[in-house]
Amino acid sequence: MSTTLRIGIDVGGTFTDVVCIAADGTETLAKASSTPHDQSEGVVNGLRNLAIALGLDLATLLARCERIVHGTTVATNALLERKGSRLAMLTTAGHRDVIEMREGLKPERYDLRLPAPEPLVPRRLRLGVKERLRADGGVAVALDQASLDAAIAALRAEEVESVAICFLHSWRDGAHERAAGAAVAAALPGVFVTLSSDVLPQIKEFERFSTTAVNAYVGPVVSRYLGRLRGRLGEAGYGGPVFVILSHGGVAPVEEAARLAVGTALSGPAGGVAAAVALARAGLGQDLVTFDMGGTSTDIAMVAGGEAALGRGRVVGGERIALESLDIVTLGAGGGSIAHLGSGGTMQVGPQSAGAVPGPAAYGLGGTQPAVTDANLVLGYLDAGNFLGGARKLDLAAAQAAVAGLAAKLGIDVQACAMGIHRLVNARMADGVRVATVRRGVDPRDFTLLAFGGAAGLHASAVARELGLKRAAVPLFAAGLSAWGMLQSDLRYEMARSTLEAGGMPADASIAALYDQLEADARARMGQWYQGEIAVQRSADMRYGEQVFEIAVPLDGIDWQGPALAEQLRTAFHARHRALFTYDLPEEEVVLVTARAAAIGRLPATLGAQRAAGATATPLTTRRIRLEAGETEVPVFGFEALAPGQALRGPAIVESATTTVLLLPGDTARMDGRGWLEILVD
């Protein structure tokens, strides 16, 4: 077996998943415990486990590997745990509090005793520099060397590791930022310097400054991590390319990920969405809702018309990140979420979680409060002796005792309480999907629920029912789908530039020139990493004159050589507005705010092989489970053993080493040869 391999690696809170796809389409999943102090250790452990699973040694595995794609939570964790670099900001004099003002907004409207958060950059390290551009980009005040020197002297005294340079209107012209950045780099060698005109060259200072500050905060941490990872992989014998999956779902080489480290803030969940896009292309359906239920949280996203929805409204660890990223809604509930009696007297699930340690009571590691997993065990959905393929024994008595504690407070029996926890989680998940889809102006009922992550299979059918969805799907690879998805992503590089003309739209020639320049820049950057054919997607952020929210308008249908370019863009915007909001305003002024071009380098698809037809599988065993209607005996099938085309009827359980699927009465399911179980709900 000297075939080449591609390897996807997803570092989660508990496990590091490693997925390998061979040239013949053979897929293999291995896992290792995550190592939060240095994620690269867990990565190498995972690779070692993968080598064992394939009967190879690590060096041979890596010698055959032609590409590694990596999803990392280093930036996310640095933000959440406030363990980023010691940073400063140089900004336009008179405007040093932009990031701490937060546009006047405070969360938790009725919690007036909530303390204010510490700003990412302390006020004394936000230093004003005398300079000022006007809104049209003209220089009102030239960059003042004396005030710049004074600021740099202050930075030297504070021993900062990184500096964000954020001047007003720099999206029009980054010359002042570049000059200041060069002066800082020359005076303070080794300091990470990042410019707002480089990170996010678009109008609206809070979004641009905040995103740039986050980049300075996580940049050194991500750089060091990726350096260590390269080092460890090198020692183990790997010299090939390493890519990192970014928040927008595309991948980029490690060097680019280190430069724009803020773009990795949503690297973790991006793999799952990339997988959904790949499955949509493989024939699962053009319209999907992803439902990625993990231990402490659940990520929900949409794939509509085969494309993942993008947004620009992310907040991670309380910090605004305005880069284009996958529009993922995260709910604070998962398999490890604790059920409890809330202060208001009703039963609640989450946001507290049992985490990896002590974990659900059933783990027997000291947890005493009932987690969702405990309820699922009490209900008979999980096999106490064969959880994670037997890698972890579950303690049924401990789970029952934990649920009994809550049941006593509610005055109901243990089984009813466990059923209640299961139902309440399903209801919360369904509500999360509703809110996520209404944000996109979409009615989800014609969508397919794509359930993955270790815990989703037990809830997929019930959540689909709650939502009125007719169809759900659980991939065989549900537990490692994010790592798998990373191998399906294309290279992507985004360029954006704001433009704001008094009349709303630039002249036709200026529009063409603007997009041509963006495209040339994007192609040039992509060309440094990638020799294949590059596709470019153009789009625009536009709004009506008096609106404040722009909407993203794809410009695929524009005839760029044709006449009346501005009018073509206007027409595309009206149509998009009508599609999103049911109406348009043809008389109103249309404003082009930001022009965008994304260069895409298509990496060869690495879909798994069609599963060979085999004998129809018979149940491994039967199990007594509790459903809403009462107790019943159901067949248990092995997921891998199901033959392509094999049909099942609920109630039934389908399980593999890494995931369990619950089919409810009335469900019909069919094993698809392309690697997923399709569930049609009644």
Binding site: H95, L114, P122, T582
Partner: protein, 556 residues
């Protein structure tokens, strides 16, 4: 069409069904809010989010409410009640009702409220309610705030409860008439459609719940949800000592001949209940700082909600421990015909302040320092970059500071008590690109906060140069240039606002909070020093570390 007679409802539903229904109700208002945010047209709604969503049951009790603007919290059921009273026995599936009249269930004229009935089995079960602040509502001045008004007819169009749509058909003639009476007919129409759309979404979701659970079991669950909130609130109130406490708050003036208009609250805490008596407040005023009845009820409910734990569901049950007493003809409850447009800010803020001052004697750990007062400026003029197009700009920048509390220092530039960090100011870059304005300085103003064991949030300094094509006209509306944000429990008041018009000629004019027809010439600057928040606890208890940090970071 009335609800089922009492007694036919089954007994309390099981705790799991209860939890699921409680979650559903909250998710419905959240979903309605998202729809509103995405579809509304005017900046005040889609950017500043000045709207609220509520579901009421057939008895017009507040069942669930999205956390948008606190001053709307207790006001929405009054709108549903006004519709129920005006159209008793004459409400049909598919009807759409509208009102804004402060003397018929509204708070002030710019807030329009859409109210839809929700039916099951031929009986009225719920009301789906959406309230949103319009960018204009007619009247003598642009934007609805007219400090010169001495009667409500000078403030805009009054809409008592009307049937805007009948059995699924909207009355296009009525919508046209209303839109025609505003200066921004297109915004008005777009926002109206967004409101109706969000309310319809609520109706559809409630119909789904009704179909799934059945009307009677759902009624029983709703009743149980409200009872649980009531019990939650009562448990908290019961931990406070019994007694009688008094507090007062003072408005600067009414814009005419009255200065120091006083709101007086007597709070009587007994057992699990709290009575707030505002009857001793000053008589109503000539100008627009009077409150309507529903707005006064809402301001009291808001103060009470601020004192409870944030986890308490804001529904009818939570407010049952609260008894409100007031007298018609006072500034907190004006007689029909008086102007009231300022009331959602002022005197709402002062009603809250008087109550919190009183309660600071009862539950000091829960009483918080005062949040800043609102002082708005609207500038109208021409921009040479857009010939032939006028502009109107509303000041949302230089927000005042939030109040300190036992939880820590206040939030800087987070705004006023009535919005509590819920209103957003826009981008300086965007404002400079769209208006002939230059923001020379927009920063925290050290030293503006009230001192205390915990200090208030900082106010801001704004220096705004006007570069219009020819002179502009400006109006102001607000309060707080004589009285700062209230200190509590030994904390100090903040400095008041100080707004100056600095002429290019070198002349300076201190601005009043209620004036019309100011002329601003190109090159003139608006120089704002906004108030910080009030302090909490005696300043001598402030820790050395906190003082050192203030010094180091430049907050003082």
């Amino acid at each position: 069409m009335q609800q089922d007679p009492q007694g036919s409802a089954p007994s309390t539903p099981d705790p799991v069904t209860l939890a699921v229904i409680d979650n559903r109700l909250r998710a419905i208002v959240e979903e309605m809010g998202e729809a509103m945010l995405r579809t509304s047209y005017s900046q005040i709604l889609n950017s500043s989010r000045d709207f609220s969503i509520a579901l009421c049951d057939a008895q017009c009790r507040l069942v669930a409410q999205a956390d948008h603007i606190p001053v709307h919290v207790g006001a929405m059921p009054w709108a549903a009640r006004a519709v129920a009273a005006a159209f008793a026995g004459n409400v049909h599936p598919g009807d759409t009702f509208l009102l804004n009249d402060p003397y018929f269930g509204g708070s002030h004229l710019p807030d329009l409220t859409i109210i839809l009935p929700v039916f099951a089995d031929g009986a009225l079960r719920f009301w789906s309610v959406v309230r949103a602040h319009q960018s204009d509502i007619g009247g003598a001045t642009h934007g609805g705030y007219n400090p010169g008004a001495t009667e409500i007819w000078q403030e805009g169009v009054r809409v008592p409860p009307i049937r805007l749509g009948e059995r699924g058909e909207l009355r296009e003639d009525l919508i046209r008439m209303l839109a025609t009476n505003t200066r921004v007919a297109r915004d008005f129409r777009g926002d109206m459609m967004a409101m109706i759309g969000a309310a319809r979404l609520g109706e559809r979701r409630l119909e789904g719940l009704l179909a799934h659970y059945g009307a009677a079991p759902l009624d029983a669950a709703v009743a149980a949800v409200l009872d649980l909130s009531e019990a939650h609130a009562r448990r908290i109130v019961a931990t406070w000592p019994d007694g009688v406490w008094q507090g007062e708050a003072t408005l600067d003036d009414d814009g005419f001949d009255r200065q120091d208009v006083v709101i007086r609250a007597t709070c009587t805490k007994q057992g699990e209940s709290l009575t707030v008596d505002l009857t001793a407040s000053d008589p109503q005023t000539t100008g627009f700082v009077n409150s309507s009845f529903a707005n006064m009820q809402s301001a009291v409910a808001m103060a009470f909600a601020f004192l409870l734990d944030p986890e308490v569901s804001k529904n009818d049950g939570a407010f049952r421990p609260l008894v409100v007493q007031a007298r018609e003809g006072t500034v907190v409850w004006a007689r029909d015909g008086a102007p009231v447009t300022m009331c959602t800010s002022h005197c709402s803020n002062e009603i809250v302040e008087a109550i919190i001052r009183a309660m600071s004697g009862c539950c000091p750990q829960r009483a918080m320092g005062g949040w800043g007062r609102r002082f708005r400026v609207a500038i109208q003029g021409r921009d040479a970059r857009r010939p032939g197009k006028g502009f109107v700009w509303h000041l949302f920048h230089a927000r005042p500071g939030g109040g300190a509390s036992s939880g820590g220092d206040g939030w800087s530039t987070a705004g006023e008590w009535h919005s509590a960090g819920g209103l957003k100011f826009g981008s300086v870059e965007m404002a400079e690109a769209r208006f002939p304005l230059v923001f020379e300085t927009h920063e925290f103003l050290p030293g503006t906060a009230g001192e205390g064991q915990f200090r208030g949030g900082l106010g801001a300094e704004l220096s705004l140069r006007v570069e219009s094509d020819g002179p502009c006209r400006a109006n102001t509306a607000g309060d707080g240039i004589r009285h700062g944000s209230a200190g509590m429990c030994g904390g100090q008041d903040s400095k008041p606002h100080h707004y100056v018009l600095a002429r290019a000629t070198g002349e300076e004019q201190v601005l009043k909070t209620k004036s019309t027809g100011l002329v601003i010439n190109p090159g003139d600057r608006l120089v704002v020093q906004s108030a910080g928040g009030g302090g909490w606890g005696p300043p001598e208890k402030r820790s050395a570390e906190a003082r050192a940090r203030d010094e180091r970071e430049g907050y003082v």
